[in-house]
Symmetry: C2
Subunit: 258 residues, 2 copies
């Protein structure tokens, strides 16, 4: 089993879109057993899959020690995909956990029980856009970091920061084996120089980490969550589904090679 | 003088792009005296204007009481525009302020001295994408909230949350007169139904607040920050500059009418 944080403090770069569509492609095409955890109080992963957010269903109670992890796992309409949804209570974690000792490793302790049970091949963590407690504790808990990177200038600027934060978490001793698994370029628009320049720059600085698969900008990817559907349900033959299937395939290939 | 928070916890909706371009349009076309404060540790407003981020230049030291506000104000190449830049130290504020009493009103206290000096007509606050201390204290400090809203499903979902958080800050007593000044639709793509549907829905629920001006999706707006330029410098005759001039004009008209 591997725990993968899908994180980038820059907002709107495709973390949630990648979480939903990588998880559903792994579960259906790869028959991998996936647990998807929505760690963002905005709960976009939860609503993007068509689930309603109810207070009390998120990891909040588990993080403050009032409930078990297993009690929050919910099945989805996909056979091999389970989810722990989010709710607004999670926003309270930022302040409440910040005031306790060991806030950095609380999530890591909670998720460590999943390693014993070995019910899943992959646990994906959709992270909020922030440098706060939820994001840093996800980095402390994860074996690997997958960074969605928007093909824009501000996206490029943010890359050094997330790499730096991950390094700090690793060096803090909270997660000595944590590593960057990969960088996925998102919202690539072939008609603009900007997209191509950003991809070229990232490939130059991070040749090993950057995925060959590039997720192209596609209106269908923006529409799918309004129907509560993953792209392979909403527009299975379109460009968005092609790109995310290719990403899931490459994700599995990269892990088999290791 | 009015303090305006440009905020929305949803990431990547155009908060920084609106902060930079509204501030520069107000300062040049309207000859208004503007102070722009970058409250986001990502420091995109700072780099988007071509300034380098140096540790020690942000509000961080002011918020923890080690420096005066005036010492952080920096002139820019625009006559009527000053800025307080950001740096990564601001990220520490989330955790440090959260642990002190009265963290919600610390920024409000700090900025209140600007009201006495009356050197500015407008103070604009570019906020980070989060529900944490920096964003909530900006809502507590601001007379008004301007909400950039991306013409996408997740953008629409987030609107209820920012409206709710602003209401909570108002009711907490920290800022009884705080109000929503407006909602600006951003990244509108006329070729898609999604954009039109989102605009229609927002206009239906918030007819008073939604600006007539809609900021259209334009590659030039994405390119400008990589040159450290505002849109009126980078592509003054293009669609992005037209839209932000129109926004600045409407912003002034709405305030004159009140
Ligand atoms: N490849 C794509 N093509 C077109 N639209 C996309 C694509 N990927 C994501 N989007 C849309 O762009 C917006 C931002 O994406 P998303 O919400 O997944 O980013 P995020 O990083 O999770 O944001 P946040 O920082 O708020 O958590 C959403 O409205 C989404 O539907
Ligand atoms: N109207 C527009 N047309 C095209 N691109 C845009 C437009 N507005 C903003 N962008 C680009 O979209 C991305 C997101 O915008 P921006 O960074 O301003 O959002 P933000 O809300 O400040 O993000 P964050 O939540 O990370 O602070 C940036 O790369 C920006 O250059
Ligand atoms: Mg998200
Ligand atoms: Mg921003």
């Amino acid at each position: 089993m591997k725990i993968v944080a899908i994180a980038n403090q820059k907002g709107g770069v495709g973390k949630t879109t990648t979480s939903i569509n990588l998880a559903t492609c792994l579960a259906t095409l790869g028959k991998e057993r996936v647990l998807l955890i929505d760690l963002d109080p905005q709960a976009n992963t939860t609503s993007g899959l068509g689930l309603t957010t109810q207070p009390g269903e998120s990891l909040y109670e588990v993080l403050i020690g009032h409930a078990s992890l297993a009690s929050k796992v919910t099945a989805t309409r996909f056979d091999n995909l389970s989810i722990i949804p989010s709710d607004m209570e999670l926003a309270g974690v930022e302040i409440e956990l910040a005031q306790t000792e060991g806030h950095l490793t609380r999530l890591r302790e909670v998720l460590s029980q999943l390693r014993v049970a070995s019910m899943y091949d992959w646990v994906l963590l959709d992270c909020p856009p922030s440098l706060g407690v939820l994001m840093t504790s996800a980095l402390a808990a994860a074996d690997e970091l997958l960074i969605p990177l928007q093909c824009e200038f501000f996206g490029l600027e943010g890359l050094a920061k997330i790499v730096h934060v991950q390094e700090q978490v690793r060096l803090s001793g909270a997660n000595p084996d944590g590593r960057i698994e990969g960088i996925v370029m998102t919202m690539f628009d072939g008609r603009t120089n900007l997209s191509r320049q950003v991809v070229d720059q990232v490939r130059e600085h991070f040749p090993e980490e950057v995925y060959q698969t590039v997720i192209r900008r596609s209106v269908r990817l923006g529409e799918a969550p309004s129907f509560g559907q993953a792209i392979i349900e909403y527009n299975s033959a379109g460009q968005g589904a092609v790109d995310y299937r290719s990403l899931a395939q490459e994700f599995l290939t990269r892990h088999r090679q290791k």
